[in-house]
Symmetry: C2
Subunit: 532 residues, 2 copies
């Protein structure tokens, strides 16, 4: 069906991957593995257009990926076998940087590290936002999946402006004002005129994003990161109740992440198999000891403040008052350097190890609060792997890590947080999994609760348990009204549960734009609405 | 084609308007007038669904309006004759108010005044945002048209969450998470999961919005309005250059409106026909005198600050520094009351009249900066009417006012503002019209330049001039890359100028969702993509 000669006509041979290397694209940290027919690595929009045309003529299914590091939400792997993967890694140009108005224009292959280094090298006074997917992850890919990071620009989708999309027809669509010649506001005003189409190309399979404008924030005059911790599990509600009004009042502008002890541990160490005597989930007593040793709380929060020095001071005061029971500390670059120096001394002297460890934990988080891409959070993906390869901590697939996210959205109230926790935690534990959880105060009114099943892919029985556990988690939380903000292949089908008109409308639009259903079949396409 | 009996089956007689009253729906402040076949006033979603079903069966065109006060962008009038107007004024329930999370859920008939009074009466500590369309204008209608107001929540579309839409199929679509049973985050998280459809139902004709969640801001602990003025026309660039970075740094959070002298005058008085000896546009010398008499500048700006007292103080300091050449003054409720008392005394003593007048001008603007709907801005619509009826200043149609907006978006730079002004102003003047202009710092990177042709509909030659002037304005600005953010029936056709794929895609979606093209044919549907 997809004879090499079909692609040879439009792509030079080094852009066509066949044979053994395809296996790298069949792997996933999730439940399904799917071997592609071929992998194509176009280097220009025109090549993408030609591929889509050929695919349409020959009814070949194409599955675009940016860098394939959509960890735990599908990775580089198509939802079903036999698709041709369009690997856009070599379309990695930073096309424009506008320092005055604060935006960049990127291709899908540009990684978090690449943009960060570019801004640093050229001394451009703009800050980006990073996710925990690591330095090698694509920015555009994360936008298409509507991921989020840590800064004031944490909501990635809302900070994009002006998409270039290759449609199934092979034509190029420019959203916003981008389809008007000479349009000046292409990358500064999102809506354009007429219906807004941008939303159609996120979490969908309606087209292939080949270029996008991303807003960056000006380097702030003053920056302060804050950290806090709460000793008890039930402090969660109280923390959310005090921070929630601050978000709506515009006092707290950055995303705020509140991680439980397990999530925090997983960024720092692997599952302590020996100390736990192989028992799962993590025994309570050991968990308490680890908290003490590492100086972490039941809940551990962080966020940041930017503005003029006087604004930052005024806001620090409010946050200090709100979090007075939870030991808030405020750090800027200068203070952190002092603390890090102190930590080294403490370690040498073999005293204050919990404090030293606390400072070490804080380092990478501090960087992320400034939008710097770091690889530490990726370590968490391998939490439950028995034999960790310390040299490959940033590559979950190489570790054989099992990772599937369960990440519902909830109103920003303590009550909702507790109710959700009470649903999820027992299910995780019932199947022997740890309840690794982060509540992110994402918008002014909503939070995302990011949890994940962490398992060892080399243990078939654990994989089976994870599958059952996943279904039970999703069903129970959705029944209670907690819907995921994002999902991977394992979760697509459940999305149409109890809903009809919405997904029928989505299907109608898909049919209108891609009548043969050649782009990413299955992606965000619940089965009963499937076309293939 | 639309026999009364068709509607009698589904609507009681008082909901069906025929005969003389139809003329009220044929009028427009713009160029076209279009007599509808009938006007229907459903009171429930189920009635809207039935109407759409009947319309589909009988190929009747339906044109939904909320309150019909879309002044200068189409008013209550369909783009072409023979449509059945769906007047949703009686679907005017405030369905939910969530004071804790800061949102309301409204039907399309709810007016700005109605919501404001509701919040006031029930002492709900939330602030709304209002446009200048007057107390009787619909909030939902303005959202569908992507209008904007004056506060931090000035971008109306971005502050909506969760739409209920009746599709051409008669089915009800809930966007975001709203299509899931018991969904808790329906009105607090916009995106839902899967493609985002909300944008499709703004500036389009894809469905009929029957309900929407609107975010409101918590009443701020501290509020400060600021006003500034610049004596010279060329101060415009400098003002924009100093404010633009403050927007991106998050220091200036509200919309900032910068109105020229003519715009400011038009909110306060009618065209001084006598003093101008009938001459148009307004003679330079008279213009200068009026500025002095009313104490206004060539450019007159306003915005607001909200937060804790310390934050407001810190931000005031920054704005004061940025605008030091433009006499910024800061007002809160207390200061304004003092000023108003002072103004009365000055007037009695017949001294400081310019100052007194300045304070009077400020009053309604101060209210708008707090989101209060006021009727004063509507006066501007009748600027060029010869015989003003002072009793009907809030009803442009009754005045015979000619009003057509020309409102392009531009990057937030002084250079762009000047270039745009240099294009528009000579064209306005060439046809004898005044260049009434407001630059609104709308987002962190873009401005909207709201200008309008103000003419007297009772003067056929002025109407003809306005038509030619309008086309020339739109063509010239679009050629230069300044695209309107919104338009009325006179401008729909020009939207496809120089653009193909975008409007073809819009057409494909329209056909998918409304195969017979029965909903609002022509609305945001450039002719070459028309279906009827």
């Amino acid at each position: 069906m997809t004879s090499p000669t079909l692609w040879d006509k439009i792509l030079s041979s080094e852009k066509i991957i066949l044979g053994e290397e395809l296996k790298n694209y069949s792997r996933s940290t999730g439940f399904s593995e799917a071997l592609p027919l071929a992998v194509l690595r176009p280097t220009s929009v025109s090549e993408v257009q030609q591929i889509v045309e050929v695919a349409n003529q020959n009814q070949i299914l194409v599955y675009p990926i940016s860098r394939g590091q959509n960890w735990g939400y599908g990775d580089a792997c198509a939802p079903s076998a036999g698709q041709v993967i369009l690997d856009l890694r070599n379309m990695n140009r930073i096309i424009e940087v506008n320092e005055e108005l604060g935006y960049v224009v990127l291709e899908p292959g540009v990684t978090q590290a690449q943009l960060w280094e570019h801004l640093k090298e050229k001394n451009i006074s703009l800050w980006m936002d990073s996710t925990g997917a690591g330095p090698g992850a694509s920015l555009v890919g994360n936008i298409a999946d509507r991921g989020f990071g840590h800064t004031k620009y944490g909501d990635h989708f809302i900070n994009t402006c002006g998409m270039e999309v290759v449609l199934a027809s092979g034509k190029i669509l420019n959203t916003g004002f981008g389809h008007y010649k000479n349009s000046r506001a292409k990358y500064v005003y999102r809506y354009g005129v007429g219906p807004i189409l941008d939303g159609l190309f996120s979490q969908s399979n309606f087209g292939i994003i080949t270029r996008v404008g991303i807003w960056l924030m000006p380097r702030p005059e003053s920056f302060s990161a804050f950290f806090f911790l709460a000793p008890q599990d039930h402090d969660l509600e109280k923390i959310i109740e005090v921070l929630s009004p601050l978000k709506r009042q515009g006092i707290l502008q950055s995303a705020v992440h509140i991680a439980n002890d397990l999530r925090t541990l997983s960024g720092k160490m692997s599952y302590p198999w020996e100390r736990a005597n192989g028992e799962v989930p993590l025994p309570t007593k050991l968990r308490e000891n680890l908290r003490k040793e590492l100086g972490i709380g039941a809940w551990n929060g962080c966020g940041s403040i930017t503005g003029t020095p006087a604004m930052v001071k005024a806001i620090e005061k409010e946050i200090k008052r709100a979090l007075k029971n939870y030991h808030p500390i405020f750090l800027n670059d200068k203070k952190l350097k002092w603390a890090q120096a102190l930590s080294k001394i403490l370690k040498k002297l073999n005293i204050g190890l919990s404090l030293a460890s606390k400072i070490e934990v804080v380092g990478p988080v501090f960087e992320m609060l400034k939008g710097v891409p770091v690889s530490e959070p990726l370590r968490g993906a391998s939490w439950r792997v028995r034999k960790i390869d310390e040299g490959k901590l940033d590559h979950p697939l190489e570790q054989g890590a099992g990772l599937v996210w369960v990440s519902p959205i909830l109103p920003m109230t303590g009550k909702d947080a507790r109710e959700l926790t009470d649903i999820l935690k027992p299910i995780y534990n019932k199947y022997g999994f740890d309840f690794l959880a982060t509540f992110t105060l994402l918008t002014e009114r909503s939070m995302c609760c990011v949890t994940n099943i962490s398992f060892d892919k080399k243990r078939p029985e654990e994989v089976e348990n994870a599958k059952i556990c996943y279904k039970e988690l999703v069903k129970n939380m959705m029944d209670a009204g907690f819907i995921p903000y994002r999902t991977g292949p394992g979760g697509f089908d459940s999305l149409s549960e109890g809903s009809e008109v919405f997904w029928d409308t989505v299907s109608q639009i898909k049919t209108a734009l891609d009548p043969q259903g050649i782009i990413s079949p299955g992606r965000y396409q619940p089965k009963k609405n499937n076309f293939t």
